[in-house]
């Protein structure tokens, strides 16, 4: 048995994909991290204290993993969903009743999204309570705050897509806040000064109209499925890279 495994791992095919064999000694254990694209996000070695479950509680890693799960389930949902006012809601019904595994995929996407909001907040709490934003990690904290905002925006834009009563009114309430922006919102202080009205304020720009309608649906869809995930991926890349460049996970001085 082990003979076959050995031959596969030493064969041309395996080596062409993984570049190194299964690590056996210390040197190859360091190499496997350096020579693999995905593992290369990691440092080769970490402080033993950083591995303790009760230090990070894996919260950053779980946030990142939930993002991956959301991408997978989200792509699945995109196969069946059309962001058009007349269709979106019936597509949701189809996903729940007709599409194979549709119901569980939608539930997974929904609960993973709520879960990610929670784990990102808890991750921030862990970083704050361990003082892990101290130099040289200040800027990675700033990137983290941007990631928190992005996570909330991702969740918020997704909230509209089912086009049910819950979605419609939650987004109506939420986007009404944009009308309160001073000067630039039609309900905000000093909006008269700039000649801002209901059909040319920031809320109008956000919704593509004076109320939540077809234009808002397509805007939220594109933001949710393309623009915000792209920004999030880039920021996460920088975030992970900075964790390494700042000397790995923080530890007692």
């Amino acid at each position: 048995m082990s003979g076959i495994g050995e031959r596969i791992r030493n064969g041309q095919l395996w080596k062409s994909i993984f570049r190194v064999g299964i690590p056996s000694d210390r040197r190859s254990r360091l190499q496997v991290i350096l020579h693999n694209f995905f593992l290369h996000l990691h440092p080769t070695r970490v402080a033993r204290s950083g591995l303790k479950m009760t230090y990070t509680f894996c919260l950053g890693g779980i946030s990142a993993f939930l993002f991956i799960l959301l991408t997978i389930t989200g792509v699945f949902l995109m196969f069946y969903y059309v962001p058009e006012v007349g269709r979106a809601y019936s597509d949701m019904k189809d996903i729940g009743f007709v599409v194979p595994f549709g119901r569980v995929m939608r539930a997974l996407h929904r609960w993973a999204a709520h879960g990610m909001v929670i784990t990102v907040i808890l991750h921030m709490l862990r970083v704050a309570l361990t003082g892990s934003y101290k130099p040289p990690r200040e800027f990675n904290w700033v990137i983290g705050v941007s990631l928190l905002v992005l996570t909330l925006l991702l969740s918020f834009t997704g909230y509209l897509l089912p086009w049910d009563q819950l979605a419609f009114w939650a987004i109506t309430v939420g986007t009404n806040m944009a009308a309160a922006v001073p000067v630039a919102g039609h309900d905000g202080p000093f909006h008269e000064v700039a000649g801002v009205a209901v059909d040319n304020d920031v809320r109008y720009a956000l919704l593509g109209g004076i109320e939540v309608g077809p234009n808002a649906l397509i805007r939220f869809y594109v933001l949710h499925c393309v623009a915000l995930p792209l920004i999030a991926v880039v920021l996460m890349g920088v975030h992970f890279w900075r964790v390494r460049k700042d000397g790995g996970i923080s530890r007692p001085l």
Binding site: R45, R48, W141, Q165, L166, P182
Partner: protein
Amino acid sequence: MAESPVRSEGAAREGDRSGTASVPMVEVWPNLVFIELVAMVLVTAGLVAFSLVVEAPLEGMADPGYTPAVAKAPWYFVGLQELLVYFDPWIAGVMVPGIIIVGLMAIPYLDRNPAGTGRYAFRQRPLAWIAFLSGMALWFGLIAIGEFARGPHWAWYWPGESWDVQKPAQPPSWDLPLGWGIAAVGSYLAAGLALPAVLFPAFRRQLGTVRYLLAMSLLLGLFSIPLKILLRLVFGIHYVVATDWFNI
């Protein structure tokens, strides 16, 4: 690449005094990779199990003509929605979230206390812990009120209380006279900025005047929110300062 596997991730900048040489290090493979794998499997299993049992909600189709009894934002924004009870929309919905985001980003540049880094050390950094935990408690307290204690017209309904009972959207309340209000806010700010500097001069000196004033303003802003809520809910004070342009 000229990356030496052992030292390459070392201290990147001067500020990091935790050089790699002195701390016990372990290989990422298999130590960390294994933990990550276990975490991924557990999270996936838990989520799949949960999703098989609990369906994602789907109500009736969106109908702009039919307003539900109460429209609530997604839970993470319900705290801001609850703030609308106590503050003007541009304060609750624009200024407060804006200050929260900028204030969060500013934390590393304001908290310069090097003690207690890299572990959960309340004793070494009590102020940072109290400030951060207060902010979180406020956020989630407001979410809990908005989610569970608000009914039609955003009136207060205890969890389980019937929404059929009619309630006035806002119980009767009164504004402080303008002079009193300005005096109250002024003394809150003056006392809040001056007292800590007088009581803990070393603390102010360590921070420097600019950092001290910024940090204290953020803290005073944070604590003014529960204070205002208490004034409203307990004493029925609608606005402390009521003017034609803004109310607080």
